[in-house]
Amino acid sequence: RQELLKWNGWGYNDSKFIFNKKGQAEFTGKRYRLGGMVLPTFKEWIEKTFGASLEHKTTSRASLNVNDVPPSIVNEEFLQDLRATKISYSQDAEDRVFRAHGHCLHEIFVLREGMFKRIPDIVVWPVCHEDVVKIVELACKHNICIIPFGGGTSVSSALECPEEEKRTIVSLDTSQMNRILWIDEKNLTACVEAGIVGQDLEKQLAESGFCTGHEPDSMEFSSLGGWVATRASGMKKNIYGNIEDLVIHIKMVTPRGIVEKNCQVPRMSTGPDIHHFIMGSEGTLGVVTEVTIKIRPVPEYQKYGSVVFPNFERGVACLREVAKQRCAPASIRLVDNAQFQFGHALKPQVASIFTSFLDGLKKFYITKFKGFDPNILCVATLLFEGDREKVLQHEKQVYDIATKFGGLAAGEDNGQRGYMLTFVIAYIRDLGLDYYVIGESFETSVPWDRVLDLCRNVKERIVRECKERGVQFAPLSTCRVTQTYDAGACVYFYFAFNYRGISDPIHVYEQIERAAREEILANGGSLSHHHGVGKLRKHWMKESISDVGLGMLRSVKEYVDPNNIFGNKNLL
């Protein structure tokens, strides 16, 4: 799998945005619907939005310079013991660097232009629960630090090795523990090894006619164990629930031993749920090895949709009403105007004159006839799932609500493209990096009544901070509401800027992101909805959960892992 993936960017080697010989943007590869398509307006959008130009290019070094990589220092006795277990391992530089990072901006930047100060000394590939038990025992015996590694898609600096760690660091890669152990059709559960990657899980379940329905944006690469460790959330949580709703049973190997329950039941009242110590523990307590997860029959019918609103305020009001009536489709997302324009820029060249004529007509209808200002309007994308009749009924209900808030149905196509973009958007950062544009996304959750204020203030804060810190071009500062709940919503921000003329762009970037997070907290938003805390957001943990709360978590850590074997220093 390592061979298929980029070593210094997001996703598959063969999939990326490039500028072709004609200077037009194009997405390569055949994995995505956008693959092989030309995006005629994208270049102009980039130039207009960031003030970037194709002439100003930075290039990543072509491959890893093995000589820069910190040496692997592994205790010989540990190696002997490890060999005796027959578990495969590697001390190869590339293998170690690949597992030394997640996908934060600064991490990718280091890959392109520098080197990490500390990386794992050795990578091990257990193939089953028992292997993990043996590795953890050995680590305890030799006082070695373990950092579990799943899909490697962390965006919280969770995978970075603490620089001051003097012990040998073992990267425990769960990717070989990827089997579905059993499927229980009567109870609709499946027991799965934690290293399985999202898309494989869904593919394999689909063979038996089932799905989990858990689709985080990273599902092509992220793993079940990772979801548990970070309290992940999926796009279709409205039907299937977030990870905490999906999980029935967790088996975790800790330095104290194995933690699990005695039964696999829908709910139990046996004190605080131990699953909640594990979910969100971010690899600080042990390794999740097996998870029993809820499954559902694959839905009969899926339908995308989209709605245009005259402005963001009306859009949010509509989402709030949908949440209130508890009729949210599998997914409902609202993008602001800047992101609508962004999505528009990613529209591929149309195949026929007829479609382009139709597009023109649609645009005319919305902007002229309905009086929507193309620089203010915003779009909601929808995904319905279920049996056909119910979907159509459901669809009508949602569109009826939308109409009340001035929304206009804008077609299936726009909706579908919106969701497809979810997966390719992560590739865009790599393109930006080639042209002095750096960016990142971050998220939060917030009560309904503060959504608008939070969105406005955070975007404004970003713009101001950029100006104050000498960023010479106006940044892209945009947001979308990606999940609705009874009591609030999840909001996602995209933030990028052209860093030409700044000597230390990453530092500037981090300062701005920090300011943006401060702003989120001041506006009543959370530290994180689903990305987790890692090392990036530790600073705010005390404020987030109070001194006592932090103490409770610490005491669990102290009991479970007194010698800090799981020493990635996340969270606490």
Binding site: D449, R450, L454, R456, E460, L521
Partner: protein
Amino acid sequence: TVAKQTTEWLDTVSHSLFVCSQQKELTSKKRDEFEDILEERRLSSDLRYAMKCYTPVIYKGLSPCKPNAIKNAVLQSEQVQYVIKQLAKEMGESPDIIQEEATEILDEMGHSMQLGAVRFFAFTLSKIFKRLFQRVCVNEEGMQRLQHAIQEHPVVLLPSHRSYVDFLMLSYLLYTYDLALPVIAAGIDFLGMKIVGELLRRAGAFFMRRSFGGNRLYWAVFAEYVKTMLRSGYAPIEFFLEGTRSRTAKTLTPKFGLLSIVMEPFFKREVFDTYLVPISISYERILEESLYAYELLGVPKPKESTSGLLKARRILSDNFGTIHIYVGQPVSLRTLASGRINRCPYNLVPRHLPQKPSEDIQEFVSDVAYKMELLQIENMVLSPWVLVAAVLLQNLPAMDLELLIEKTLWLKGLTQTFGGFIEWPGNLCAKKAVVSGLTLHPNIARLVDGCVVLNDKGVEDGAVGEIVFKRALAVLLCATYRNQLLNVFVRPSLVAVALQMTRSFRKEEVYSCFSFLRDVFSDEFIFFPGISLKDFEEGCFLLTKCDAIQTSQQEIYPTDKGSVIVSFLSAMFRPFVEGYQLIFRYLSKETKEAFTEKQFIPGVRNFVFQLLEKGNTQCYEALSSDMQKNALAALVQLGAVKKKKVSNGFAYSVNQEAVNKILDMF
């Protein structure tokens, strides 16, 4: 004491982050130039000016709406509805009745800004201002900064308050510069004036009752009304931090109620930021000067009435000199608050619930209020006459003109060293400036045979009591002008007073006396809360700067030539020291029982009056009810007087021993 000083020092350091900007401004005095806006008015048609095309610069996020739409929004707001429901439940009334009450409150309160009324004012005020004033000078750069601010964020205008002219002038100014007209918090008393009240309402005034602490519905409606206008950026909000016109021309200690209301939308992040704009308006001659003096002496202020206004017409023939309006740098509330506010309380309660501000917040609001007043003071223009008045008051009843001129010039230099903002008209020589001041203020002093004499006509013939009253009137009038200097002088002067009082050169002792004086005078002058040591150091620094003192690690001593300055400075504040002594003496001897303010003022006035009649004191300023109230408040703060709420106001009871102790320290 070392430990105490250390902790105090730490306090200072923790505060200094907040005041350091203030300090910086103090050392780098770069002020804008003034333009006379009346000049243009004297050249072109007032009618055309009043009918000009008025398309003001407005807030970027504003969707224009009518005054009535705002009232409706307020009435329907969650905030007001919540309180209505609560009250209905508590009182067992139907919400409709309470809603009705809220509507009435809103109708009484709300402005109904109309362009027609604005144009009417533009026309009549042009006429009136041209007759009353020689020049109305404005710093144009300030207006430009304000223009930017108005577009960017909601703006709160915080002018100083010396006269009713203040808010008329400010609206007139914004109209002249094509800026959005402010809505102005005005006292409900104006509504007593027929026609005028309604006219003001149409020009953007909204009316608040004087006290409504206990009335939850009123408070909710009022606060929401102000906040709705602020959040939407409907118009700049204007109010007076001092709460009322200062009768003494000395800045009054700030009121916090309205300020905390306009700050709340930022605390709750309903707006990204809010600009606070300190505005200093200074008058060469204050329209209401004699009214104030009478009022301070206990002749009650006439109720605002239209006929009273018409009677006041005769002042139209008088000359009131020049007005200076300095629009200060807009201060970003967000910048002030950064790192100071714990956000938790606002995140854990729905934002529409009425919430008592935490102590943190209250302290912050108070700090901001003081900071804004200090900024007002810093940019307040001082006319030559102010210097003349200060010199004259130390040389009563008469002074040789030449000496007066010489001293005035000397004081000008000193004032500038202390950072005072003097506008010396034209390049007038000192003599002309002094004489022109005398011409402008014939009611205060006049020139008799090369001598400047306080104008207390009728002193020779009349009963003793009448003589004292007349003299007091003249002194208080004159003091109104000297007072404008005091806040610029207070820090070095209190060091000077402390030096004389302690008769010691030990820094520690002088500081402890300074600190005591600062506490005693905390209602009299404007001090940023909690930075006594810093104030002391600033005072010492300024005295060193003008070579009045030298300091070492442990000691402070006046230089040879410095004794003139030190004695001048302490003489400048002597009326306050002596006045407070008299008032404290009254309290320690004459009052055995609990009393109300209504009893206290005539009591102490009689006491001082008798002393003056007997010639046992020369401190006429102790007759000022303003000083009397401040002195009482100081004792309350120092714990020597207990203040208790009773049915009709407050009752005070004196702790004789404590008052005597304070008296001893003087």
